[in-house]
Structures are given as structure tokens and as C-alpha cells.
């Protein structure tokens, strides 16, 4: 434990200064959200909170269908989370406790796509959505997302480590149907893993930019990140309003992180740490 106590005070200073650098941008995002464009771009720039939050919000709702955009973000994130939890828990349970044809190669294929770069799917996804007539449809965002390789990985790991096969056998002996076993025994036992996957899926959907960039064409259908980006222009960007929008997009993430940082951190690094 005392292996390398490299002068503790130097360690505290290094770690503490780093932590400040990590947190400062969030502070300034919220400070700028309460200032007008002219105040943000003045010398010195504002370092403390101002009182233009509602004025900025006013500009935001004039320039964008902001509440609709916010609504789509919430709707897509919730739908995506619900579908992912359902499909990945079913699939993960099947991969963990059943034997079936082509199981091993299929699982290998699913895991291989975990490392697949996102840019590979950008162009063909647009073409498929175009062919299906799903351009400007929220389902173009939450339905493909439900086929999460990471979700399958997480669920399978959890089932294998915490649901004994004997329990399933016993339920079968007692005459419980296969889907009954999934619904009444497996799903309740999966709760912790469902929580982790749910948080991760919600956050990923909330932050998703490339997906909506490719399939959403009309501003009324934009999710929040895309709507905010559309406010950027080479001249006359409404920086105050843009900061207010960014801050509003960030608050739910901070709340979720405050409530469940341990669960989130271990879930998001589980692929690399295990």
C-alpha cells in the first residue's frame, strides 16, 4: 500500500488541479448560460452567474422549436432504453443459459461488431432508412439502437455470473413455461444489470449526434444536440442562447451521474476491465 508515496502533497496538488480542469468547463457552461452574447464576448469574460437565463431561453425558443426538440430527445432516449432492455435481456439470457445452433459463431459475430467503428454504418444506415421511408422518423433512431452488442455482452455476463442454471431447471420442473421463466424469474434477478444498461443506453441516446445528423432532415424533428448545432453559424451565433441550450442538455446527465456514478463507471468500463 505504501509502495510509492511520492510526496503526498505533490500528489494532492496534481490530482486536485487536474480535477479542477475537468470540472471548470461545466462551471463555465452554466455561467455563460446566464449571460447575454455581448457579456460572454467582453473583456474580461464573465466568471460568475448573471441574470440573462430567461432572456436566453426566450431567444432559444424563438430560433428553434426548442421544446419539441427537447421532447424528441426524451422520447427517443426512453423508447431506445425500453427496447434495448427488453431485447438484450432476452438475447443475453438465451446466449448465457441455452444451447442452440450456431450459438458460438453468432456470439463471436455480435462481439466483433462491438469494436466496429461508427463511421462504417453512417452511409448504409442512411440508405436503409431512406429505402424504408424512415427519414425524419424517430423510430429510425431507437429501433436500430435496440440491437446493442454491448447490451448483449453485459446481459450475458450478468446472467452467467448470477443466475444458477439449477434455478431455471427447478422452475421448468414446476411447470413454468419458458417465457414465464424469463419474465418471472430471470428478469427480476437481472434488475442491477438492467439498471446499468438502462442508464448507459439512455445517456448514449441523449448524446447521440451522428444518428440524428444522418436521418433527421426537418428542424421540428431534430433532437437536442442536432438542434443546438443548427444554431451555430459563421456570423451572428446567439452564444448566450446556445449556452443555455447546452446547459439544459447537460443537466439530466449531471443528475443521472450524481445518482449513480459508481454503477455508471463500472458499467461503462466493464468491457475493458474484465
Amino acid at each position: 500500500m505504501n509502495g510509492h508515496r511520492l510526496a503526498p502533497w505533490a500528489a494532492y496538488a496534481f490530482v486536485g488541479a487536474g480535477a479542477l480542469v475537468m470540472l471548470a468547463p461545466f462551471y463555465f457552461m452554466f455561467v455563460f448560460a446566464t449571460h447575454s452574447r455581448t457579456e460572454i464576448f467582453s473583456l474580461p469574460p464573465p466568471l460568475f452567474f448573471g441574470d440573462d437565463f430567461f432572456a436566453n431561453l426566450q431567444i432559444l425558443t424563438e430560433k428553434l422549436p426548442f421544446w419539441r426538440n427537447l421532447g424528441w430527445s426524451v422520447y427517443v432516449a426512453l423508447a431506445s432504453t425500453a427496447l434495448t432492455l427488453l431485447f438484450c435481456s432476452m438475447g443475453g439470457y438465451a446466449f448465457a443459459l441455452f444451447e442452440f445452433r450456431y450459438k458460438a459463431p453468432l456470439f463471436a459475430l455480435v462481439m466483433a461488431t462491438l469494436l466496429l467503428p461508427t463511421f462504417m454504418n453512417m452511409i448504409p444506415t442512411f440508405m436503409i432508412m431512406d429505402a424504408l421511408g424512415w427519414i425524419d422518423q424517430p423510430r429510425a433512431l431507437y429501433i436500430p439502437g435496440a440491437a446493442s452488442a454491448f447490451g448483449i455482452f453485459l446481459m450475458r455476463q450478468f446472467v452467467m455470473s448470477s443466475i444458477p442454471k439449477d434455478l431455471i431447471e427447478a422452475a421448468r420442473m414446476d411447470g413454468c413455461s419458458e417465457l414465464g421463466i424469463y419474465w418471472r424469474i430471470v428478469l427480476p434477478l437481472l434488475k442491477p444489470a438492467l439498471g446499468t444498461l438502462g442508464l448507459i443506453t439512455f445517456i448514449a441516446s441523449w448524446n447521440n449526434f451522428i444518428g440524428p445528423l444522418i436521418v433527421m432532415r426537418s428542424p421540428e424533428m431534430y433532437t437536442l444536440p442536432l438542434a443546438l448545432r443548427s444554431l451555430q453559424s459563421p456570423v451572428n451565433t446567439e452564444w448566450g442562447a446556445l449556452m443555455t441550450g447546452s446547459a439544459i442538455a447537460t443537466v439530466p446527465l449531471l443528475v443521472l451521474f450524481a445518482l449513480s456514478s459508481r454503477q455508471l463507471i463500472s458499467g461503462l468500463t466493464s468491457g475493458a476491465v474484465k
Binding site: 508515496r5 496534481f14 441455452f98 463511421f119 413455461s177 419458458e178 448545432r229 451521474f257 475493458a272
Partner: protein, 302 residues
């Protein structure tokens, strides 16, 4: 509630029922697009012309990409960014993790949380914030630098030579905490008696770091660097926001992912864009393999 009789089949069929919703989506939206993009890489096609207007062009798209000056430029930018944002992450994350591991007890979770927070945050919101922080005349970065060192304000986002460092700083900020968590997990697996034995033998703290800690972290360094390389070569959102979606002046901030997006959606050449995505994929695969070779623990060690 009783499930329909057709679904309460034998355990033999249950896995197929359980897996089919995932599998259908996986094949239609995961594997399908991938195969289709491979097919598309050998076609010439513009979306306005309709699907029947595709035409087989052999390796034409690949030849076009390899002779395209902007494609090479974007590859150079991407490589620069992957290295300049990736390597410092690990150089900083390792000492940070060691310090947190050895010197923090009560504040540990809070500190880890502070470092991890950027990782879960909205890239777009953060990139928008940073584009104001990096503004030349009024941005806090230049105001801070001017107060500390004086000198002329730096044109971060306008001058071609500055935009890549600006992007690399944001990427560094966003991912360093993720790596800290990886290294903390690895540090916990090093047996304490190794350090005790070393102390008995009179090894100093720096010696212990270089002869015990660093070699024990080697497998995690391999994982972490591989993840950073794969991630760095995919950079899209940060440079996209910082350059207004066009790649910046002199295309200095244009990564390959941005270029292939523009090739498809701005220049309407879906075939060439697909070919480029496969070329970039080859680069990612090759570099992953090389990192693997360079860092993989050799027999007998670790």
C-alpha cells in the same frame, strides 16, 4: 397472464424465440448495412438518381480515394489527432491513477467522479462550449494564457496550424478520466506483498514504480492504447462542431470520418464515401494489430 400456446414451446425452441427480436434488428441494421456498404464501395451512385441507377465500377472508387489529395490530408489529420490526443491521455492517466490509488481514501469516489464526468457528457454541448472558450479575442483560454504569459492572442479555430491542437485538448479532456478508471482497476490487482518485499530489499519509491507498477500495468496499457487508437481514428463530433461541419480552414481539422460524411452528404458520392470508409477501416484494423504486437505481454513476463 399466460403466454400464447405457440410460444410456450419446449426448451429446445425457447432460445430461438428469445433471441429473434435482437437478431432480426442486428442483421437488418447491423450486419446488413455493413455488407451493403461493401457492395456500394464498388458502385457509382448518387442518391437523387434512385437505386436502379447504380453502376459497377470495380476498384474505381478505391483508385479515386487513393488519388484524392483531401483523402490523404484527412488521414494525416486523423493520425495526428489520434496520437496527439491519445498518447498524452495515458502519460497523464497512469500517474493520476497511481496517486489516487496510493494517496486518496475518503475523497476517492469524488475525485474519480470528477475525472470521469467529461466522458459521459454530451460531445456536442461540450464542443459548443469549447468553441467559445477558444475564441480569439474574448475566449477564456486566450484570456488565461495572456494573463499568465502575455503575448499575442492565439487564433485557435481560424489558423490551420492551431485547430488540431485545440481538438486534441478537448479529446484529451474528455477521455483521460476513462483511462484513469481503467488503470485504477488494474492497480488493484497488483499484490501488495510485491511492494512489501521490494521495500524490505531497499527499493525506493521510484524504483518500485518502474520495476513493479509499470510492468504490472502493461496489459492494461495495451488495452487502453488500443481503445484510444480505435477511438482517435473515428473522431467526428468534436472537429465537426469546432469547424462548423466543413473541416476548418485549409481542411486542417477535417478527419477522415468527417470527409467521408461530406463525400456522401455534401458531394453526393456514396460509392466513393463507402470505399473511403473501408480504407479507413483497414487502417484501424492494421493499427489495432500493430498496437497489439507492440504492447502485448511477451511470454514469461506479466
Amino acid at each position: 397472464m399466460r403466454p400464447p400456446a405457440s410460444l410456450s414451446l419446449s426448451p429446445r425452441w425457447a432460445p430461438y424465440v428469445l433471441i429473434s427480436p435482437f437478431l432480426v434488428l442486428f442483421l437488418v441494421f447491423g450486419v446488413g448495412p455493413l455488407l451493403f456498404s461493401l457492395f456500394l464501395a464498388f458502385q457509382t451512385w448518387e442518391p437523387t438518381a434512385g437505386l436502379q441507377a447504380m453502376e459497377y465500377v470495380g476498384l474505381g472508387n478505391f483508385a479515386f480515394a487513393l488519388q484524392d489529395e483531401w483523402f490523404w490530408k484527412s488521414l494525416g489529420n486523423t493520425g495526428w489527432l489520434a496520437v496527439a490526443s491519445g498518447v498524452p491521455q495515458h502519460l497523464v492517466a497512469i500517474p493520476l491513477a497511481v496517486f489516487i490509488h496510493t494517496s486518496f481514501k475518503h475523497l476517492r469516489d469524488g475525485v474519480i467522479g470528477a475525472y470521469f464526468l467529461p466522458y459521459i457528457t454530451s460531445t456536442v454541448a461540450i464542443a459548443i462550449l469549447f468553441s467559445s472558450l477558444f475564441s480569439t479575442d474574448y475566449g477564456l483560454v486566450n484570456v488565461g494564457l495572456g494573463a499568465l504569459f502575455g503575448g499575442e492572442p492565439i487564433d485557435w479555430l481560424g489558423a490551420p496550424e492551431n485547430i488540431k491542437p485545440a481538438i486534441a485538448m478537448i479529446v484529451f479532456w474528455r477521455y483521460v478520466g476513462f483511462n484513469v478508471v481503467l488503470y485504477l482497476a488494474a492497480l488493484q490487482t497488483i499484490p501488495k506483498d510485491l511492494y512489501e518485499a521490494a521495500t524490505m530489499d531497499g527499493a525506493g519509491r521510484l524504483q518500485q514504480f518502474f520495476y513493479i507498477t509499470l510492468p504490472s500495468l502493461k496489459p492494461m496499457i495495451f488495452f487502453g492504447v488500443t481503445l484510444s487508437v480505435i477511438g482517435g481514428l473515428q473522431l467526428f463530433e468534436e472537429p465537426f462542431i469546432l469547424t462548423g461541419g466543413r473541416g476548418g480552414s485549409d481542411q486542417a481539422g477535417m478527419t477522415t470520418a468527417i470527409y467521408l460524411y461530406r463525400m456522401a452528404f455534401d458531394f453526393n458520392d456514396f460509392g466513393a464515401a463507402s470505399a473511403m470508409s473501408w480504407l479507413l477501416f483497414l487502417v484501424v484494423a492494421l493499427l489495432t494489430w500493430l498496437t497489439n504486437r507492440a504492447f502485448a505481454p511477451r511470454k514469461g513476463s506479466a
